[in-house]
Amino acid sequence: MEDRLALGDRYFSSRLLTGTGKFASNSLIGPMLAASGSQIITVALRRVDPKAPPQDNILSHIPDTVTLLPNTSGARTAKEAVRIAHIAREAGCGDFIKIEVITDMQYLLPDNHETLKATEILAKEGFIVLPYVMPDITISRRLYDAGAAAVMPLGSPIGSNLGLEMKPMIQRIIETSKLPVIVDAGIGRPSQAAEAMEMGADAVLVNTAIATARDTAIAGRAFAMAVTAGRMAYHAGMAGHSNRARASSPLTGFLRE
């Protein structure tokens, strides 16, 4: 059976989601998508300008075969996120929406409470809602009840490249979530993306690390390979690890003597 990522009623063979922000030029986005095979790309509605000439219009750099994931960057409240989602839909960006409600500009940390409220509203309106949240078990359950299509816990703050600082919390979400878990933000190296996938994450979203690399296409390809490798390792059921060499039964061996 093919191992595909299911979001709403859609299926994807790539488990690497990418972004459009921070590129030195929008013309790098197409080659990055081709090299990485990423099938979902997020774009901040605040950056979309249908009136702009093609080279400055982000949307004109994304092939039709790639699914647009507009995000609500800039929203401070659920109400603003909902409004941005509506504008995105009217602008022809499709039914996917990544909810970003950020009230801490210093670390760009999401406001789970407002995010949940926006999810409840937009899921009812038929959007395929992907909420970006602080890793929290309770919020992940409530997002399921609210009709989200996935939960997107952050690995570490946006742009930090710190990797899975939230690892134990994300692990717990993966163990309990009925929704696909997409680790978003803070993944700075392919090895960190592989680590998230080995843990059982369903996908990862990587933007800064790819967009600010010297060669964005090769970076995209490297992340795609890491995601695939991590997914394979997860399916292979790798044994756990220990920091020490261990005798086979140091405590109970005497029973066999």
Partner: protein, 373 residues
């Protein structure tokens, strides 16, 4: 606690002695802590990075600043243009060309003229506008500014205001009319100098001006841009005060994007000669120190700076440039002859030329980074 309490604490601080006490090894320690942006730099680190000793560390500071800016903002420079709609002013700022005592024919644009100016600017691709006036509420009352915002909203995705300090409730009216950002410079944080250069008029009230960014943030603006006018006070002390003002706002209003500008006086424009010139090296040191102190801080650079200098400092932490600017009222479309400008534009390139320069430096010019909703 408002920022006034903090500002008052530093009025008697002996900046000169403190700055001179900082040794190269102190700078190295701060740089080691600031590398990678993993540890938060404290107030004393900002003093260290602005000190004379840090002048020998500009290259490592620049490397860190570039990396932090790239990681948090990407290889991107956002563009905006200023639009002066009135040069009536009742203030007596001794350093300003719009000073009430300077005799020149004053202008206030009609809504129809604002519309023409806005269209001319929008035609260049600019989507973020900064609206400016002098301080003359009798000539440019709230209703006038509100109407101007509504005209602007037809053409732009973001409307920033650089007008006279207002009350929170007046700002709320303009916020509802479409304005989303506020720019206000303290001009000079040193209270003695402030008093000297603002002898009369509403601006003589130091505290009311100092707390303007707080009233704006409380009124709902999503972004607040502050700064000091280099040339009036001791530049290192002023850079420090502006830096801790930005940090204060970031803490007090975590949902607001905070930016700093570095306007600097170059020569006497019919007014007083600057007491303290900020040389290019000092400009760069200030920018770098601010970036290391606040990795997510917006840093705005206007066309007061020369084309050659602006081309270089793209890599040093700047995040926003003005382009194609006219600083005279009606300068884009309404008037064909030269009128009095608030300050001289040094980088006279067109928007397209500035955008090309940004691309040639390996950065993306971003015209639209907001949506009025």
């Amino acid at each position: 606690m408002s920022f006034l309490t903090l500002a008052n604490q530093y009025q008697s601080f002996d900046f000169k002695t403190y700055f001179n006490s900082i040794r190269p090894e102190d700078v190295q320690k701060t740089l080691d802590r600031g590398a990678g942006g993993l540890k938060r730099l404290e107030t004393r680190d900002l003093l260290t990075l602005l000190s004379p000793a840090a002048e020998d560390f500009l290259e490592p500071m620049a490397q860190t600043a570039r990396e932090l800016t790239c990681r948090h903002f990407g290889q991107i420079i956002s563009l905006y243009a200023p639009l002066y709609i009135s040069d009536y002013c009742s203030n007596h700022c001794t350093y300003c060309g719009f000073n009430a005592l300077t005799a020149f024919p004053r202008t206030r644009l009609t809504m129809e003229e604002i519309n023409r100016e806005a269209r001319a600017i929008a035609d260049t691709g600019i989507r973020h506008i900064l609206v400016l006036t002098g301080e003359a509420p009798a000539k440019t009352p709230l209703s006038y500014l509100e109407a101007a915002c509504r005209v602007m909203a037809r053409y732009f995705s973001s409307i920033a205001l650089e007008i006279f300090p207002m009350t929170q409730s007046d700002y709320q009216v303009l916020h509802r009319a479409g304005a989303d950002s506020l720019t206000v410079y303290q001009e000079v944080y040193d209270q003695a100098v402030y008093k000297e250069v603002h002898p009369k008029g509403p601006k003589a009230d130091y505290a009311f001006r100092l707390l303007t960014p707080e009233r704006g943030a409380a009124a709902g603006f999503r972004a607040v841009n502050i700064g000091t006018l280099f040339g009036l006070g001791n530049p290192k002390a002023e850079a420090f005060m502006a830096g801790i003002h930005a940090r204060y706002l970031e803490q007090a209003f975590p949902h607001v994007e905070i930016s700093l500008s570095l306007p600097r006086m170059t020569r006497a424009g019919g007014a007083i000669a600057p007491k303290h010139l900020l040389p290019d090296k000092g400009f760069v040191q200030t920018m770098l120190a601010w970036r290391l102190f606040m990795p997510r801080l917006g840093i705005t650079v206007s066309t007061r700076e020369s084309a050659a200098f602006r081309d270089r400092i793209i890599h040093l932490g700047a995040t926003r440039y003005s382009a194609g600017s006219r600083t005279d009222v009606g300068g884009y479309a309404v008037h064909t002859t030269d009128t009095t400008a608030q300050f001289e534009v040094t980088d006279t390139r067109t928007v397209a030329e500035v955008a090309d320069m940004i691309r040639n430096n390996g950065y993306q010019p971003v015209f639209k980074d907001w949506e009025i909703f």
